[in-house]
Subunit: 341 residues, 4 copies
């Protein structure tokens, strides 16, 4: 089959002809890929930023945002059958550790991460596990939802954790209305009646944010912390969801967070630097967020199939993976780039 493989860091991945994966374990599932999202993390992988953490031997197939149809299944698989339309949780999990038994898939002690730690989904077929498969309405086009597999689940997971804090009358700030943020805004609008304030440098992103449910859009031009303070009567926001968390956003996000409020870190790259006196005197929290649970993804798909979360995508044939990566790197992609084998 054809697959997009990385052979060398700092070099463009290549379309290779490789053997199709085969079922070896009882819970193995092979998925015929219908859509594979292209993500900034793929650029970071190519640049070698994940090599220290993952140490995955090259070459291997990229692609960690995948949806398609079940092509083959091991003998113990009972939740999906050949032909089913599926979206894949990014990290197939063991199902037996404490975290898996509590539903906290993202803390499984023995998960894999196709596209980062093993062969991913920028290919005709992907080997995954029954535990990663969320079955979809057969009418769903995988290419339309693939990006929810990673960007979507991460945004949803953070918003869902924030829901109990966001009763009517509260304010939630979303920093960054890009790939994850624009999903987060839709999740906030679907799950809460909070006032949604979106902060971004890009006026076009803010315009989209307003269409997706933002009550207020603020250009991140230096006056944005003050603007949030003003919108909240000087109190600051109850929740700040920071999808950027670098280049100063992490300091701004904390400053926007009001007394007894919570600052949710979702993006990364920066460093929080906060006196403990500031933390205790206002009783504010900093909440970490990473991917999400299997049930988070299932819930998000329920929102997507009800039309409450939609994605802007542009598609490329698998063979044009290099173009998609180049366009993403150059800022030429509107919405999410999706490869279609």
């Amino acid at each position: 089959m054809k697959a997009v493989r990385l052979h060398k860091f700092h070099s463009t991945p290549v379309i290779d002809e490789v053997p199709e994966p085969t079922i070896t374990g009882p819970l193995d599932v092979i998925v015929k890929i219908g859509g594979a999202g292209v993500c900034r993390t793929d650029l970071h992988i190519i640049e070698g930023q994940w090599d220290a953490a993952m140490g995955t031997p090259l070459p291997y197939i990229l692609g960690h945002e995948n949806a398609g149809w079940v092509h083959a299944a091991g003998p113990a698989v009972t939740n999906v059958a050949v032909g089913d339309t599926v979206i894949l949780h990014p990290t197939p999990t063991c199902g037996l550790c404490r975290a898996c038994r509590a539903g906290d898939d993202m803390h499984c002690v023995a998960s894999t991460f196709p596209g980062l730690s093993t062969d991913g989904g920028m290919a005709e077929y992907l080997l995954t596990s029954a535990r990663a498969c969320v079955k979809l309405d057969p009418a769903t086009r995988p290419q339309d939802v693939a990006a929810l597999a990673d960007a979507g689940i991460t945004a949803y997971h953070a918003v869902r954790k924030a829901v109990p804090l966001l009763y009517p009358g509260t304010t939630a700030v979303v920093i960054g209305a890009g790939g994850l943020g624009h999903i987060g805004i839709q999740c906030l609008a679907a799950l809460t009646a909070t006032t949604i304030v979106v902060v971004d440098r890009n006026p076009a992103a803010l315009k989209l944010a307003e269409q997706l449910g933002a009550d207020h859009a603020i250009v991140a031009d230096g006056g944005h912390v003050a603007a949030v303070r003003e919108l909240t009567g000087g109190r600051g926001a109850d929740v700040v969801l920071d999808f950027v968390a670098e280049q100063g956003a992490e300091a701004d996000g904390w400053q926007m967070t009001g007394r007894a409020g919570s600052y949710f870190v979702i993006g990364y790259g920066g460093t929080v630097h906060i006196p403990t006196l500031d933390i205790i005197s206002t009783e504010r929290n900093i909440i970490g967020n990473i991917v999400g649970t299997y049930n988070d993804l299932a819930e998000l798909m329920s929102l997507a199939q009800a039309g409450k979360v939609t994605l802007h995508t542009c598609t490329y044939p698998l063979a044009a993976a290099a173009d998609a990566l180049a366009d993403l790197d150059a800022g030429r992609v509107r919405g999410r780039a999706i490869l279609i084998p």
Copy 2:
């Protein structure tokens, strides 16, 4: 009446003869002080560290940990009567703002802080509010419980917030087994079946910690982060309660916190400095804590009256306030110093 007043920063408070307080508001309560705790915060006040935040005009009466008997009450007071034994929540609150209406007294938008923002309890009588009074069993000696009014409520509040995270099989680390920490250990033992690990520089404090319920005591000698990792099978603790949060404890505390765990900041003085990648890749949280609710104090008194939380105290007559402050500053106080008018 006699009262301990601060006339000048960096100078010892003085015993003054001042007028007794009088009832002016409908919810006013005057308490005859039975015990007033002496706290490190009093030393910080004397050094002027709170002047910028509070700006309280000198001279004023110190003392923010108070218990005694109701001496007089305004016409709208229905929860206590003259003669009742009471311990006082440190911040009399308005009762009408959203935070008060949600039970979050410590976030009242219009509270006062006797001993910091107004006259405190190192005196024969204190003016407070009905909303600050927790009624006690008449057999209680105020001097035995006064220190629970601030040190106690703060430790209890943090532990109570952590309880849902501390199911059997988890590990909680307490950093600092001093005034607050030794109450926190007792609260953990009373409210959870978690494994309690206490870290302190002082072997005598650790010995007390073990008597109070610590399962493991670790000397903070440089190997303590590794020791916590080892005790938890390499995973780190589920919860770290940091009663120090300065001088490196704040970095150690974060390092001791395991994946999906929470680092509770209760002490202050230091600065957390953490890459956002560290926060998200492990989904750890930093939880702020300040004082506690009125109901927290009532619950803590329930523990105290059942003998599940006890305090080590040494008493001084009110006239010896300067000695108590000097002993505290010099590290000569075992347990908590209490002034008795």
Copy 3:
């Protein structure tokens, strides 16, 4: 002033000329009534059904759903000022008991209930307490929101408790799309992305329900339990909110509730009769609900002022109170009847 007083059970209330109320307590507030809702409970009061529980001496003024403008305020009132537009929590509370200190106003051990236990709001002026006043945008017309003071808060309180159970993919059934139910539907739509199924005998009520956010409307014609089972793939609903709870609805509601689900009782009049084996073998819950907290009402007003909850009302002059009660009794009122002094 003019007031609608009940002089005798089973007889029509009368418009009397009575003295205006006066401020006597420090937290007293007198509200000039702008709108007073007429509720089925008023019919029950007239029939004497509440006499055993309340024992309120006749004659007294009816009216427990009130909104208006602050006319006078006691000396300790700080949350509202003369001229403010306000809606009133139905039970002025003590502010000092455990329940009040936890925010659970409806469990205050010393509350009153104007319109049931003391003079109510079907009058030109009403005596209430600062603790009952929720301040509104001055542009709000009291007559447009008065019915939220009791019907609204009750529906909102139940829905808010159910929110954590109603993640995307779940199903909530609303039994009864009348006065409370039609507010409950709007609250569900505003606060969750659950699938909303409404069951009512009245096709017109179901039509309104669909306009207000119901995903499915089912006529209660005997096949409705089976219909809910079918809509949920045989599993039953995750949450059933029963605004009727009499005449068989209480049996139907339990049968519609799926394994691990919760049956919320909000209406009353019937009796649940359930084998304990049924309760444990499916681990279902029965959840009681009564009025709501002060903050519930404040949150609901936030929804109302954002246009997310609207009421259908028809107004009557105060002098036509007897007509309004008669119309309600005869089923001639569309939406909620509101008296305007």
Copy 4:
């Protein structure tokens, strides 16, 4: 191997020689039984009470409370290895349904129930699944913990759900200090600082209850509802855990439950019969409880291995199963009867 099989309802089970089970599925585990609890449910099974619900063809092996050592394991088993000491969750689950993915094992849509729906553990070997195995300290004797597999997990699950309601100052009533109840008392004492009140007809059971942590013991002699009211200042209990729920206990339990309190149904056999007005006017809840999650069992074993929950047992050789059942039926068993193959 030898096994205790039921051949006919209303007739004593027989020791048969049957083939040992074999591994056929990838997650299968065969456990050499070290202890199998004898439960009242076994008596009910023999009487045919479970036939309608289960329809399990006779003959089959009884025994649903099992612990032992892993004897063989399928190829996909990674959480235990041959030789490991294990206790078994009563219902091996699919691991793939929404409930399993949320950690709610007891609501798995495809679980089995060895001893009720398939061959159980009153035998030398039992076929189960990796998902049912909780690995224990190798020093644990299976016979000492087997009864925690069903009686224990059920009591623990109910208590754990009640913990957030049982802050210091509250009161919890335990109805029934027998097999489940005496574990429930220990769990309450380990996990909360609530006041524990135990109600039982049997003075010996009450004596044991006091040794295990009960603060008050009340003989169920007709005055027990009034006694609970009196102990709680007339308010009733915050939580009632009813391990009986038949023969009037279900009415008493509800009456003992205070305003805003929760009545937990754990036993079964009776019928609750409650006006909806009673439910709403006091906002009380009825909470169903069944078995528990895998993690509940793991947590309970953590309590047991710390010595915080202990069981009274008397052992019988497997060949004496008929004696054990007869002794249980006749009320001659002190603690829990355990069969040892």
